[in-house]
């Protein structure tokens, strides 16, 4: 019958991966929007926070690709 263990692992990996990437990217979009607001004192902090979020996002994606390419293992 179906391999429920591997199904569970796939579901969990999908959830963690997608939620991480979408969450971080959303946070980046939000911080970017905040930094674009005129007259905010936290302008610079928000902008660098947004960039950090996007970087984490990119790193997560690259790590995912690294995992699936057998050439690297």
């Amino acid at each position: 019958m179906i391999n429920w263990a591997s199904f569970g692992i796939v579901a969990l990996a999908t959830l963690i991966g997608a939620v991480t990437v979408v969450g971080m990217y959303s946070l980046g979009v939000r911080l970017w929007a905040v930094s674009a607001d005129a007259g905010t004192s936290a302008h610079r902090t928000a902008r660098s926070g947004a960039i950090a979020c996007f970087a984490v996002c990119g790193a997560a994606v690259l790590y995912g690709i690294y995992l699936i390419v057998p050439f690297f293992h």
Binding site: I9, V10, V19, I65, L67, I68
Partner: protein, 524 residues
């Protein structure tokens, strides 16, 4: 000679299957970014093609496990012959083209499995050749679970994305300009990731089939991976197919299931990519088509206010149900024609190839009656044009914000007006009260004045009486002519003047007194 011919035929058909797979699945990666206007249609398919090409070279893990024990080989099973694979491929290709004509995203992997199963069953004239337990666990259950996983994750991600980026004014709770434009750029990356994942997954299936043929015909030793030229040919075929673009299916996925917004698209694609990459890495076979469709539906459910067209989803579900049996029937038919024992051998093979080709041409001619290409695939979006579409949305937000502001101002003005009206009413009431008071005061004053006048008159009467008396007294001496003027004046004066006058004219003096008396009576 014979063997080489059939091998070449199978390889050609396999590469054509890869091509149909490519343009069938372009939609999985690129439908949503095209629908939201994140990438221009032409650029999108070019990008997807390149990434499929790259992805096909990245990993060949899936290729090694293509048949995956579904078809029992060797003892008690069936020996996989090139004819069998040819029949299976024919079924898969025809079903792929048919669903493309209808614009339905159906799984190319299912079509391939179906074709191979049908061919195996007919080729051995019995169901023993197929391990249906494996079919259930590797094909049918994943077909239900894959959209469920991807849809559920996409639903959560969409909620998450909208929740994090929801911006409201802390004071008034009013919605600010949301500024979710960043997701449009994110979509370019997320859809690229899906295309890459597709390349690592689906191109492998064809590589596996070609390798299978090469092994079956003794041109390659069993247990070795696909040759480099096989990998390259498959990568090019799937990239070319992707570039050709299945615009009909893009239309269905891009706008047929739900109206996709950039944040939704991003969430859906990230979920799709994560699911495909996870499954192909962890050895749980998922169909990219099922995953992508599930994600789009999940993200449609996740955004408040978006509509999900269940009718269209039902149609796709039916196509999914029919994919395996339909491809199996075609595959079985072809296998029967080509079977050396029950059919017509090589002649049958050629006949089935010709019939298959004719069917492909027929479907292609049918598709030309109503062409769907990059210019009209997602017509609503394309017609408006992304240059107009994006600002118009922003403008709508701005207009809405302005409308809200105006509403607020109007409400404030109304409140102020009400206040003013209240004050005015109070003032009016006060004025009225003042008026009444003034009237009362005036009446009272008039009353008082009347009383005064009466008193005066009474005093005048007294004076008159006194004057009369004085006149009488004076009249007693023959001079009773007290004039009115004298009478009104002090009695002493009156007496004096009366005395003076009386001596001059007694007759007029009488008349004068009579006049004064009359007047006094009138006034009283």
């Amino acid at each position: 000679m014979d063997l080489t011919f059939i091998v070449v035929l199978v390889i050609a058909l396999a590469l054509f299957f890869d091509f149909t797979n490519g343009f069938h699945d372009t939609a999985n990666a690129m439908a949503t970014p095209i629908a939201t206007g994140a990438i221009k249609p032409r650029t999108a398919v070019a990008l997807a093609a390149i990434l499929n090409l790259v992805g096909a070279f990245l990993s060949t893990e899936v290729a090694k496990t293509i048949s995956g024990g579904i078809i029992r080989e060797g003892e008690g099973g069936v020996s996989i012959t090139p004819e069998l694979i040819f029949a299976g491929l024919l079924g898969a290709v025809l079903w792929n083209l048919f669903t493309w004509l209808l614009g339905l995203p159906s799984s190319s992997s299912h079509a391939l499995f179906g074709g191979l199963i049908g061919a195996a069953v007919v080729g051995t004239w019995g169901f023993d050749a197929v391990d249906f337990a494996v079919v259930l666990s590797k094909v049918i259950l994943p077909a239900i679970l894959a959209p469920a996983i991807a849809g559920g994750v996409a639903y959560l991600c969409t909620k998450l994305a909208y929740g994090i980026t929801r911006r409201t004014d802390p004071d008034s709770g009013d919605k600010l300009v949301q500024k979710r434009g960043g997701f449009r750029y994110g979509q370019i990356f997320s859809s690229s990731l899906v295309a890459l994942a597709h390349g690592t997954n689906d191109a492998q299936k064809t590589m596996g089939v070609i390798t299978l043929v090469l092994i079956a015909s003794g041109l390659q030793t069993a247990g070795t991976g696909p040759h480099l030229w096989v990998v390259a040919a498959c990568a090019v075929a799937i990239a070319a197919g992707t570039y050709a673009g299945g615009w009909r299916i893009i239309r269905t996925l891009g706008s047929g299931l739900t109206d996709v917004k950039p944040a939704q698209g991003f969430a859906a694609e990230t979920s799709t990519a994560a699911a495909i990459l996870a499954s192909s890495h962890l050895g749980f076979a998922l169909s990219t088509t099922h995953v992508a469709s599930g994600s789009v539906i999940g993200s449609g459910l996740g955004r408040t206010g978006s509509t999900v067209r269940w009718g269209a989803i039902g149609k796709i579900g039916l196509a999914w149900l029919f994919t395996l049996p339909a491809a199996a029937i075609v595959g079985g038919l072809a296998a029967w024609l080509a079977s050396p024992t029950h059919g017509f051998g090589t002649t049958g093979l050629v006949v089935s190839a010709v019939i298959g080709l004719a069917a492909m041409v027929f479907i292609f001619i049918l598709s030309q009656r109503e062409t769907v290409d990059h210019s009209n695939a997602v017509s609503e979006v394309d017609a408006v044009g992304e240059a107009v579409h994006i600002p118009s949305k922003k403008e709508r937000e701005r207009l809405a914000a302005r409308a809200r502001l105006a509403e607020k101002a109007a409400a404030k003005a109304a409140a102020k007006a009400a206040e003013m009206a209240d004050i005015r009413a109070q003032a009016l009431a006060a004025v009225e009260r003042a008026d009444t008071a003034a009237l009362i005061a005036m009446t009272a004053a008039a009353e008082r004045a009347k009383t005064d006048a009466r008193e005066e008159r009474a005093a005048a009467k007294e004076a008159k009486t006194a004057a009369h008396q004085a006149a009488h007294e004076a009249g007693g001496k023959g001079a009773g002519k007290a004039s009115g003027k004298a009478a009104v004046n002090t009695p002493a004066n009156a007496t004096k003047s009366a005395i003076g006058d009386a001596t001059e004219d007694v007759g007029t003096g009488n008349v004068g007194v009579g006049n004064v008396t009359d007047n006094s009576e009138d006034k009283a």
